[in-house]
């Protein structure tokens, strides 16, 4: 029973972290831009997390605001709609404040099915019709064709940096343990040995107390009883 709880918890944590990274990290679509426009959009409480926060440049109101959109089609005919909003200076850390320029670029790259211009759109976020959320286009450039291979350098670098950060955090924690906690616990135990020799009467209570404190900090030791 406990095993299932533990594994469910672990899998949930992995899913949340992976989902968070998948939402935040940039992706590339190779599409043909078909339309650009803005429309008044009401942002509700259920999907406001997927829109720019109210204090960024393009988002004047928290509830209803004019949002720029870019419509596009993939090579296979399926479609995608991007929103085009400033990210501001907090999260996600794209520091995008050129939404107007991007909209102009998108308009300039518009093309028809007969004479397609293929565009690689860098974006983050998800298209989720149920919640009315749209990926945010960050930048775009024209590419040779719909099958161009794009190497996700940013993702590679960010994931490697995150892995390195976690690795270093673990090393720091182990170093802290070895240099600070273990000597302190050893000292407490020595002190306790002295106390034990002198005062037999307080043994049960004091032993439980010090033992418990030691047990908080020790990975292996069980509380002394």
């Amino acid at each position: 029973m406990w095993k299932y709880v533990k594994w469910t918890f672990r899998i949930l944590v992995v899913l949340i972290v992976a989902g968070f990274l998948h939402y935040t990290l940039p992706h590339h679509d190779i599409v043909r831009i078909t339309n650009t426009y803005n429309r008044m959009t009401t942002v509700g409480s259920e999907n406001s997390w997927a829109y720019a926060s109210p204090d960024t440049g393009t988002a004047e109101s928290a509830v209803t605001r004019d949002i720029r959109f870019i419509e596009a089609a993939y090579d296979d005919g399926s479609v995608i709609v991007y929103r085009n909003e400033d990210t501001g200076w907090v999260w996600p850390p794209y520091f995008k404040y050129d939404s107007s320029n991007l909209q102009a670029e998108a308009g300039n790259l518009k093309s028809t099915e007969a004479a397609p211009k293929w565009v690689s759109v860098t974006h983050y976020g998800w298209r989720f019709p149920f919640l009315s959320i749209y990926p945010n286009a960050v930048s775009m450039k024209e590419v040779a064709g719909p099958d161009v291979r794009i190497i996700p350098y940013v993702n590679i670098v960010v994931l490697l940096a995150l892995a390195y950060g976690l690795f270093m955090l673990r090393r720091m924690w182990l170093q802290f343990w070895e240099r600070m906690v273990e000597p302190a616990v050893a000292e407490v135990e020595e002190t306790w040995d002295g106390v034990e020799a002198q005062a037999g009467a307080a043994k049960a209570r004091a032993g439980g107390f010090f033992g418990r404190i030691g047990a908080w900090f020790s990975p292996k030791a069980k509380p002394k009883r």
């Binding site: 204090d55 960024t56 501001g88 200076w89 907090v90 850390p93 794209y94 520091f95 995008k96 404040y97 050129d98 320029n101 960050v138 930048s139 270093m168 090393r171 720091m172 170093q175 802290f176 240099r179």
Partner: protein, 88 residues
């Protein structure tokens, strides 16, 4: 405009926390290394003096100065991101 300052302010606080952690870790690793080197034998003199001298040399060394990269690298990354996203 105020958003940039806010980001800079909280970024500075966050990076200072990282700096303190990394500096403490680096110092601790250096001290452990010195202890182990002395305990391996072959070094004349007092153990504490040897370690304190080694730590002083570390404070003025290149490795200790490289810790400033904790501030410099994120600032450069942000600057490059701003350039690539907005001016390309």
């Amino acid at each position: 405009m105020i958003a940039i300052l806010r980001t800079a302010f909280f970024g500075f606080i966050g990076l200072t926390v990282v700096y303190v952690l990394v500096a403490t870790y680096s110092r601790s690793v250096r001290r452990e290394k010195l202890e182990k080197k002395f305990d391996a034998g072959g070094i004349e003199g007092d153990r504490d003096t040897y370690i304190e001298d080694g730590m002083k040399a570390y404070e003025h060394g290149l490795k200790h100065r490289l810790l400033w990269l904790v501030y410099i690298i994120p600032a450069v990354v942000v600057a490059v991101t701003v350039y690539l996203v907005n001016y390309q």
